[in-house]
Symmetry: C2
Subunit: 217 residues, 2 copies
């Protein structure tokens, strides 16, 4: 593939528009805690697991693309379009969603190097708001929460997260003991790397005991 090179920029200024308030100063933070012994980042391990689940017809879950505000695109002749100016935007939702046996799944992947607790500052307000809205629509909402040392991954339900988030007594993190008690430990494996659907089954059994849409909470 040959890309025609073109001088850039041409003195053109970036014009603020209505969507500007959602443009972020920095790209999404790179997660640099590697995953388990296989050297995969948490995000890669989840993407690989989602692919495994899709290929096996178990679930259809994707990571959403990073939202980008595109300002300028070049169309070189006989070549592909090249985005020459764009900005990272603040997402409105969580990173992952999809469908599993009729259930809507919605989740975030988060990690910490802390040994004994999970800091709430890992969450943005928009993620909390989105969880709240999805729970109100009977979605299955959670975080895949990785503690790096020793490496272990939990499915932590969004309902429990919201209790901590709304706690006004000044607590700023969730003790690992609580994550282990309320959440579901995921037996990290090989194929898929993070078999989170087992934990989802447990969460559904706990929250949807009649397997009926009318009985949540």
């Amino acid at each position: 593939m040959k890309i025609v090179t073109i001088s850039y920029p041409n003195g053109r200024k970036y014009h603020a528009d209505a969507q500007d308030s959602s443009v972020t100063a920095r790209p999404p933070k790179t997660e640099n805690v590697i995953f388990g012994k296989r050297g995969m980042r948490l995000e890669d391990a989840i993407n690989e697991s989602n692919e495994y689940y899709r290929e096996h017809g178990s679930a259809v879950v994707y990571k959403k693309p990073t939202p980008v505000q595109i300002v300028h695109v070049d169309y070189p002749a006989r070549s592909q379009a090249v985005i020459k100016e764009a900005y990272f935007r603040q997402p409105s939702t969580t990173d992952y969603n999809g469908v599993y046996q009729g259930y809507y799944l919605d989740f975030e992947a988060k990690q910490t190097k802390n040994k004994h607790s999970f800091p709430l500052k890992n969450y943005h307000q928009h993620q909390i708001d989105h969880f709240r809205r999805c729970l109100a629509q009977q979605g299955i909402c959670f975080t895949l929460m990785q503690f790096a040392d020793p490496n272990c991954v939990y499915l932590f339900p969004a309902t429990a997260l919201l209790r901590y988030w709304d706690d006004t007594t000044g607590r700023h993190s969730i003790p690992l003991k609580e994550v282990a008690r309320v959440g579901y430990k995921i037996a990290v494996g090989f194929a898929p790397a993070i078999p989170y659907l087992d934990a989802v089954d447990a969460l559904i059994a706990a929250t949807h005991p009649q397997n009926s849409k009318g009985t949540i909470e």
Copy 2:
């Protein structure tokens, strides 16, 4: 906001990588049929309707961001990151998904200037494959299908679309008469512009008569 201008490109070539096959030659096609009498494009009208539904607690549905492969980012001092080289990627899924009363919704928005039929070439294979996978997981899958002249919008179920797609007798479009018979006409309005949840209710009533996850198809 001030963006530091920097000469670009610096002679750097674009290197093919494993994800290259999914890079598209062109950006997503701009839909230039305006919507109804209000001058909105179909996509804008749906986004506005989704926002209305979210604000009223009726459903949580978003359009997915356009997937972009980012190659080069500049980080000007004390300013926001600027994406300087990126490419449009082929999406893997449909454009819209979300949750409504415990149901997973998944849909595309499509339009035609044809008066009497809807051409199947409006669909890509990956959209068809995605519909099939989501239907197998009991998702509620459909197209919001706009005929421009006279302007009308139908919810057309993915199950019916797949019958046409799989028809090997050489048919390349769906007659409007069939769209009207099998689909659900949407009474285009003001708030929301495209009240598609009414049609979703009708689709669920037809396909999930016991309102139970175990009874699909």
